[in-house]
Amino acid sequence: MSIALIDYGAGNLHSVHNALKAAGAANVSVTAHPQVALTADRIVLPGVGAFGACAAGLRGIDGMVDALEQRVVREGAPFLGVCVGMQLMATRGEELGSHPGLGWIPGVVRQLIPAEDVRVPHMGWNDVIPATPHPLIERGEAYFLHSFAFEGDSVLATTNHGGPVTAAIGRDNMIGVQFHPEKSQRYGIALLERFLEWRP
């Protein structure tokens, strides 16, 4: 089974790669080539930092967005987005301006608003609370590190930071998690193991 880990300059690329290997993935291609994405059995999109910069980085690779659309949306290859990689699945992101996302899941990525006892960035271990049954999402504690969050449809799990905050989204063969499985010790590796075995 081949995994394409999309390399568009995202900072957590190697951490996600390491964690996929720890979860048992033997054949991970770290790639910036659309051709590799088009033939991969599974696709993982990492990402940290600003939505607009990440969206521009992904679009900066000629043919990559088309390849992802083809392989994930039309052909149904299992897809996992991590952190900003998850946020990019949304319609748009409002970080330093408004930027279009991949538009796979209707929703907008907006800034978390600080309040009493609600510090931003949302940083640290917090609950993953399933909103609807899903084979990849189990209740547990994961590591979050973000200032912006998804608001929209197809929410699979939430966490609590001054109210419900989206922790996972997905439909059909695609899933995105706001938290960092590659930094969530056993909980995170177990989630990646389930992704590798997932038959949506």
């Binding site: 190697h14 940290v48 960035p121 940083m123 590591y143 200032s147 960092h180």
Partner: protein
């Protein structure tokens, strides 16, 4: 529950070797930062902090290699500080597997470094580290070079400015308390924490578990950093979590 209070052991590293770290568990090479990191990963630390205390420009590559090797085997959040002077320094550490980089001296002479890193890699990965000494009643100044060199800069104002410039977290160390085991300078931590909306990490002076509790309840910190009480086996991470939980503070189960 809500986001958990974090317990963060800090390892001092120089030239790629740990100079202050775990010395009670059976490590094959206690000077190897990767082995130390594994021990704390297994112990359930919420994050790990590497502080490059011998950070010279030539030594940068060594730390990047330590981070890379750590990230290959430890799937836990990692903050790396010491000698980060440019956006490229930060980027190299993040690409190697660090989740956050702490900037200290360079942000004293050039606070814009914080906004430059935040603009490129996001606020969530920039920790502004402030070393402070009390110079008068309720007044602290920034000190550099391990607390030896005064700058005349008001520490609270400096911390607030760095938060405004895009730091996603403040690591506040009392250089008066560091190494004393007398507990955090709670007034310093609280004065800063109450005026910012980003998380604050309390640092400097932990001698027992009650000090960790006080850092959260009285210092209003979101995370507590400590070194020697963990390194010398006086307390475990689990005991730290239990002490925080007993005080009604949310911690990881």
């Amino acid at each position: 529950m809500t986001v958990r209070a974090r317990v963060i052991p800090c390892l001092d590293v120089a030239g790629g070797r740990v100079v202050k770290g775990v010395n009670f568990v059976d490590l094959i090479d206690a000077g190897d930062p990767v082995e130390q990191a594994r021990a704390y990963d297994a112990a359930g630390a919420d994050e790990l902090c590497f502080l490059d205390i011998g950070a010279s420009h030539e030594g940068r590559g060594t730390m990047v290699d330590v981070v890379r090797r750590t990230a290959e085997v430890c799937f836990m959040p990692l903050t790396v500080g010491g000698g980060v002077r440019t956006v490229e320094d930060a980027r190299a550490l993040l690409l190697a597997g660090a989740d956050k980089v702490a900037v200290n001296s360079a942000a004293v002479s050039r606070p814009e470094l914080v906004s430059e890193i935040a603009a490129r890699m996001g606020s969530q990965c920039v920790v502004a580290s402030v070393d402070a000494r009390r110079v008068a009643d309720a007044r602290w100044e920034v000190f550099t070079h391990g607390g030896r060199r005064e700058t005349g800069i008001d520490a609270v104002a400096h911390a607030l400015r760095l938060a405004e410039m895009g730091a996603g977290e403040l690591l506040v160390t009392s250089m008066d308390r560091d190494g004393t085991r007398d507990g955090y300078d709670l007034e310093l931590i609280r004065t800063i924490a109450d005026q910012v909306t980003v998380p604050v990490v309390a640092s400097g002076g932990v001698g027992n578990l009650q000090h960790l509790v006080d850092g959260i309840t009285k210092g209003h910190a979101s995370a507590v950093l400590a070194a020697s009480i963990f390194h010398f086996g006086q307390s475990t991470i689990a005991e730290a979590h239990a002490a925080l939980a007993a005080a009604g503070i949310p911690v990881r189960s």
